[in-house]
Amino acid sequence: MQRTKFFLGGALILAAVVYLLVSSTQASAEYFMTVDEVKAKGDSVVGKSLRLSGAVLGDTIQYDSETLELTFDIAHVSGDNADIEAQGGLAEVLYQAVNDPTRERITIHYVGAKPDLLRSEAQAILTGKLSEDGVFYADEILLKCPTKYEEAVPEQAAAK
């Protein structure tokens, strides 16, 4: 009798936790995508929470410091770390992406302060949604710059 009660209670808790997990996952999953993938999937990802990454194109950055409206374009960069390493590291990949006019591009729109690290050849990781006009409305911008900080081995030239 007691045993049944305990098992029943345990099963209830288990069911509640599974429900919480499944419903929260469905409600707040963000899909990691590259520019190519977004372009390829087109309308089917409109309105979904996405996490998009790409290389910032410096000359497309426009910022209005009155309205805090920021727009810029990003170019496709592979989302696979091993792939990036094989192509000569993040800095090299970003450089190529920016200087290759054939790459797919997406315009980003954001309202807020302009991030300090936003410059050409920075890697942008954006959270937000794609709208029907093909512009990506970002709620959050994360930027990574391949700087001296990431150099594992000092350049020999520095020694002279």
Partner: protein
């Protein structure tokens, strides 16, 4: 010279730990006390050895030896000496050495205690600790050597430990420098605190394994390591809070906890550790949950190693940027292997871990503790799911999915609410048997008062129902806990005819764990006030201001007065500091100075908020941008974080509570329930 010395000592330590392991296994199997003693002495040797090696590394760090790759990565000439010392744990190789050094220290501390009746545990405790130590030493000796140097080989620079053919040593003129975000007092002590917590949990685990192997599966191992678990828990909590405070002060996003994978990596062992802390009491008082306690301590150990792996391997992208590294697979292999072996031991000993009584009431103290454990495990499952979802989804669906803060908030909030409710009910329930009637009689006054308070809040403060549920639970727990202090002190006052204050202090002194625990419960509720405040009532605004212009938020007015920018060549930093005047409803409150520090060597910014903190709310002002030429305009982002200060007040009280509970007491007259049965092995040794 120092690099070779440091590395040589590392290799020697590795061999000594290896000997200690072999001697301990041999000594235990052959019942050779001499071999066990020899193994114990070898283990004691690892601490001074690793201290020497660490001293060599610190010497290299402090003296700008940029021919050493690790020194080059984490220090630069412009860094002050204290930061160069703490750069020891600012990178992967150094922090692994730091881990090993702490483990050697703790293992030594544990092996020099008087063992006497527990001598059969000794070899197996050494075995478990030396295996863990060997793993970390193996990492630094073979894969992540902090003493690797740069060599000029045929025109290119390569990192090697020893000189390749025809190579000359290459010293860079300056290093990369520690990530400026880590150059903060909070960051200087946050990693060591976390690591102290992590490593200290290895000790209870090693005793648990010793208990399984020797078959001495009573609660002796728990009593012997009770203080270790408490101190480990204290340090881990302290590390988590410091990390939060650091994020609040330095990262400039107006919060202290972002459900970042690395934060969760430290939070997961805390969850199992907290569950363990509660459930060991059931084993001590009632002889139940023996399997469960074993599983909890094993999980905690695995999560500690897994946490070290997550923070150090770079498998998960996060603000805690650490590079990809080759040691990930080794960590996974080690975690899996120790987990499988440990669980196999539990299964092997399953029959002798049977409970001494049966649980027979759904509302008894032990049943509610079981529920508490299940809830902690549920939070753990949510966290684990969130952390592995990017990896798992990519593996199974070829589509990388991440789960951000909204997922964690949504999934954990109801569980935390249930935990708070339990915190209110459980202290009132009795061991063995409780009914709805007895619990209802004990709780109704507090519940009614909490309800009245909630209604008042509903009318005067907020109509947000999540906040109201939260405040109701907080009030309930606080009232019930305070009532417990009151009731017990009154009873003692009458029985012993002491005054109330003497009665209260003697009462608390007699039962440190119980009342320390209650203090911790109260502190948790204070922290919950802060969390509710920032999670639900945070407001923000931003705008570009010309000099003399204002932003208004929540009754505050922030007026931009001036801005100055100046370089400090010696420190390698450019400071940009804005001054804003703050008014509340027209009354001048003072000035705030948000600033941005730009670090030349790493080309990185650090955004330091100007923060005005009161018990009611924090006004958190960030400088985000400025016009460099005219100095006329600057952009600010302003948060109002209501009640967040209670978070830090709560954490201070929390430490007082843990220290109160962990303080060694001389009064052996506890555990009356099982005292008679366990008298022949009382816990005088801990």
């Amino acid at each position: 010279m120092f690099a070779e010395f440091g590395y040589g000592i590392l290799v020697v330590s590795f061999l000594v730990a290896m000997y200690s392991l072999i001697a301990a296994v041999y000594g235990a199997i052959e019942k050779s006390a001499a071999m066990v003693e020899s193994s114990r002495r070898a283990m004691l040797l690892t601490f001074p050895l690793l201290s020497l090696s660490a001293a060599a590394l610190v010497y290299l760090l402090v003296n700008n030896h940029f021919e050493v790759a690790f020194v080059y990565e984490v220090t630069s000439r412009s860094m002050p000496t204290y930061l160069k010392v703490t750069a020891w744990w600012g990178g992967q190789a150094g922090s692994l050495l730091f881990w090993a050094w702490l483990l050697a220290a703790f293992t030594s501390a544990v092996t020099i205690r008087k063992w006497e009746r527990d001598i059969e545990f000794l070899p197996w405790v050494i075995v478990v600790n030396s295996i863990t130590l060997l793993f970390f030493l193996g990492m630094v000796v073979f894969y992540e050597n902090p003493f690797t140097r740069f060599w000029l080989v045929g025109g290119s620079v390569e990192p090697h430990m020893f000189a390749p053919l025809n190579a000359t040593l290459f010293a860079a003129p300056d290093g990369n420098g520690l990530n400026p975000l880590l150059r903060h007092p909070g960051m200087v002590i946050h990693p060591p605190m976390l690591y102290l917590g992590f490593v200290a949990y290895v000790i209870p685990y090693s005793f648990a394994m010793a208990a399984l192997i020797t078959g001495r599966t009573d609660d002796r191992w728990i009593r012997l390591t009770r203080r270790w678990s408490l101190w480990a828990w204290l340090f881990l909590s302290f590390g988590l809070v410091l990390g939060g405070r650091w994020a609040y002060d330095v990262l400039g996003w107006g919060g202290y906890w972002g459900w970042d994978p690395v934060e969760i990596a430290a939070f997961m062992p805390w969850l199992t550790g907290t569950a363990f802390l509660h459930s060991v009491m059931i084993q001590e008082k009632r002889g139940l949950f023996k399997h469960w306690n074993m599983i909890l301590v094993i999980l905690t150990y695995s999560l500690v190693i897994f946490g070290t792996f997550l923070t150090r391997s770079g498998v998960l992208s996060s603000v805690h940027a650490f590079a990809n590294s080759p040691i990930g697979p080794f960590f996974m292999a080690f975690v899996s292997l120790t987990l499988v072996v440990s669980i196999a031991l539990v299964i092997w000993r399953w029959p002798i871990l049977q409970g001494e009584t049966e649980m027979n009431s759904m509302l008894s103290r032990e049943a509610l503790f079981l529920l508490n454990n299940l809830l902690f495990m549920s939070v753990l499952v949510v966290c684990f799911w969130g952390v592995v979802s990017p990896l798992a989804s990519e593996l199974f669906t070829n589509q990388k999915v991440t789960l951000g803060p909204p997922f964690y908030e949504r999934a954990t909030a109801p569980i935390f609410a249930a935990l708070m409710f339990l915190m209110g009910v459980a202290p009132l329930s009795a061991w063995g048997h409780s009914t709805i009637q007895t619990l209802g009689r004990a709780i109704w006054k507090s519940a009614l008062a909490a309800l009245v308070l909630t209604v008042i809040l509903f009318i005067t403060y907020t109509q947000n129902y999540i906040a109201l549920i939260g405040f109701f639970l907080i009030a309930l727990v606080l009232l019930v806990t305070l009532q417990e202090f009151w009731r017990a002190a009154r009873a003692r006052q009458r029985a012993q005819s002491e005054n109330f204050f003497t009665a209260l202090t003697r009462l608390m002194g007699r039962n440190r764990r119980r009342y320390g625990g209650y203090i911790i419960h109260i502190s948790m509720m204070l922290m919950a006030i802060g969390i509710l405040g920032i999670e639900i009532f945070q407001t923000e605004t931003q705008g570009a201001l010309a000099q003399g212009e204002q932003l208004n938020i929540e009754g505050y007015t922030v007026e931009y007065r001036e801005l100055a920018s100046w370089p400090d060549e010696g420190e390698g930093v450019n400071y940009t500091r804005a001054v804003v005047d703050v008014y509340e409803n027209g009354i001048y409150l003072g000035e705030l100075t948000p600033r941005i520090d730009y670090y030349f060597d790493s080309q990185q910014n650090m955004t330091i908020p100007g923060n005005r903190s009161t018990l009611k709310d924090d006004l958190y002002v960030l400088l985000v941008d400025w016009e460099p030429v005219s100095n006329a305009g600057a952009t600010f982002k302003i948060y109002v974080n209501p009640l967040v200060n209670w978070m830090w007040i709560g954490s201070l009280l929390f430490f007082i509570g843990v220290i109160f509970a962990a303080w060694p007491d001389r009064d052996p007259a506890e555990e009356p329930v099982r005292a008679a049965r366990k008298a022949h092995q009382s816990s005088a040794a801990d």
